[in-house]
Amino acid sequence: MSFKKFLKSVITSLELGDYKVEGKKKAIKDLLKKLNRRKQNLKKSLEKASEKKQQKELKEELEILSFEIKKGKKILYKLYAKNKKKDK
């Protein structure tokens, strides 16, 4: 076994590989959780809101949140796909 192969197997067994990607995945997952929670709260607030101006503001915020959640999911999907490719 060459030194490079040995090193690779050590990294794989200790799950040290792609720690940057793993960190990124975790950060985005956590952020998505928070954004989803915020979205639910916002939906409730929107149901209760009576003023038009307030409704408009909340709707706009909800649109941005939905967009961010979708974007986060896309990035996460790409990261998982990258990992799968590597495993193969």
Binding site: D30, K34, E63, F67, K71, I75
Partner: protein, 599 residues
Amino acid sequence: MLRRILLPTILVLLGYGFWVSPDFKEIAAGVSIFLFGMLTLEEGFKVFSGGTLEKILQKSTDKLYKSISFGFVATAIMQSSSLVSVLTISFIGAGLIGLTQGIGIILGANIGTTTGAWLMAGFGLKVKISAYAMPMLAFGVILIFQKAKSLKGVGFILAGLGFLFLGIHYMKDGFEAFKATVDLASFAVDGFKGLLIFIGVGILATVVMQSSHATIVLILAALSVGQITYENALALTIGANIGTTITAVIGSLSSNIDGKRLAGAHFVFNVVTALVAIAIMDQIMYVVEVISESIGIANDNHTLKLAVFDSLFKVMGVVLFIPFINKLVTFLTKTIKPTKTRLDGEYDNVRYLNDSVLELPSTSLAAIILETRHLYDNSFEIITHGLNIKRSNIISSMPLDEVVKDLYSEHAVDIDEFYNKRIKGIYGEIIDFSTKSQSQMSPEDIEVLYKLKLANRDMVEAVKDTKQLQKNLLKYSNCTNHHIKEQYDKIRKDLAGLLRDINIIATTNEDDVILLLLSKAKVHTEKYDILANGTLDNLIRKGLVTNEMATSLMNDSAYAYDISKNLIDMAEITFSTVNEEMLMDSDDVKSILDKKDIA
């Protein structure tokens, strides 16, 4: 003056020494090789200080006992209290740790230096140490020539240790040969007079060699061949401990106020400990005898006894000082005051950029980040005042409609004067410091640095645009044409809202809040651009504003748009903790505005 005389005197004395004694030449060469080894060792550890060491330092200094332990372990491993001191000053200078934590590290480092005496007395003098030095030097030098940073670092450490061992070997050999021609022990002085004389010699030797570690190794080498008496060696050790603080004080001159205070703490600690040791010398020597006997050190093994004394003396000092650390911090804060204080109307200076933080790329970067935030504070102030808004209202929860009504001043604030006094100098220093610090940074750090420079430029641009915007703000805020007044108030309100959001971004740790506010700001900037959304066309078409008003509004809304863009870009770089890919780009904003791509 003293420094000018010192160097020629040392050179003349050395020259004379080399001329009269070849053995002295060997001892001096040993000291030089030892000191070179320490420099090489420091170089090696600095290679590894690009992240790991800083993270450990920040995490392991939140409590005093942790700071002391960190100082001890780091010094024991690196065998250099001066490197630990430099790192600590650098971290304090960059605002990453406080003075109390810094003092804790210095106390720990003081105990850590005793491991050097133990290694030398227990190992260095017992075996033929040069046999270990040669392979270390050979392996070390080969590794130094490698391209990989970590291998280079290991190379420097190995070579450093090799030089240390080689230096010890030459010192030991030199003293042994020296004994045959001159018996230094005949110059021994007994009693209190001897104690004071040899403390003085210890101070002088350490100031000259800039290392107490080297002095103690030299003392042990001389003691092992009986060239100095045990009692005089103890006094020399105390002297070395005082001498090292003078090195630290000189080193702190280029540091910021906290670095100077830390050097002050080091000085007070070592001098007081030395005074206490002198006062109870007989009792300490008795305890050394008891400890030595209990751990099986032979009665005539003076080198190991000296190591016991060194440890006891330093641990005693630390124990003595622990209860007074907070008082020491208060004392130093009161006595060592910043030379330049900010007064209203006076020039503002940089707070975090100084030569001490240049020691490490991470501290340089941290200092630039903090200085950028400082520049942001000043920019925030001038932009709000330029918009004729009170800063306190922006950071409050007051409705924005009321914020724009509550004017800051009846007259226009002189933005030029403020810019020259509180922005220009700091901005210039940041750019200059960035260029200086860049040379030792990794490509990743340079990328971050580049972004920070952009953030600073954005801020300065935002201030300059505010100056342009200000001209018509006052004019049309009091205008009888309510249409134009309304538009200018809207510009002020939008910018006030943005400044409020940026203030939240700057002060929160919640990444979802940061992301949402940044995204909202980007969408709003595009959505409420009156050039793009047709508001201006509408006003002109309906004849609600004059041509002159329309031109002013068109120009000023462009300024407001630029201010918003610059402030958002700056906030994204300076305050955002969100993953970069998650941040909205211009295409994303367009999608939102076009109501596309939304779940």
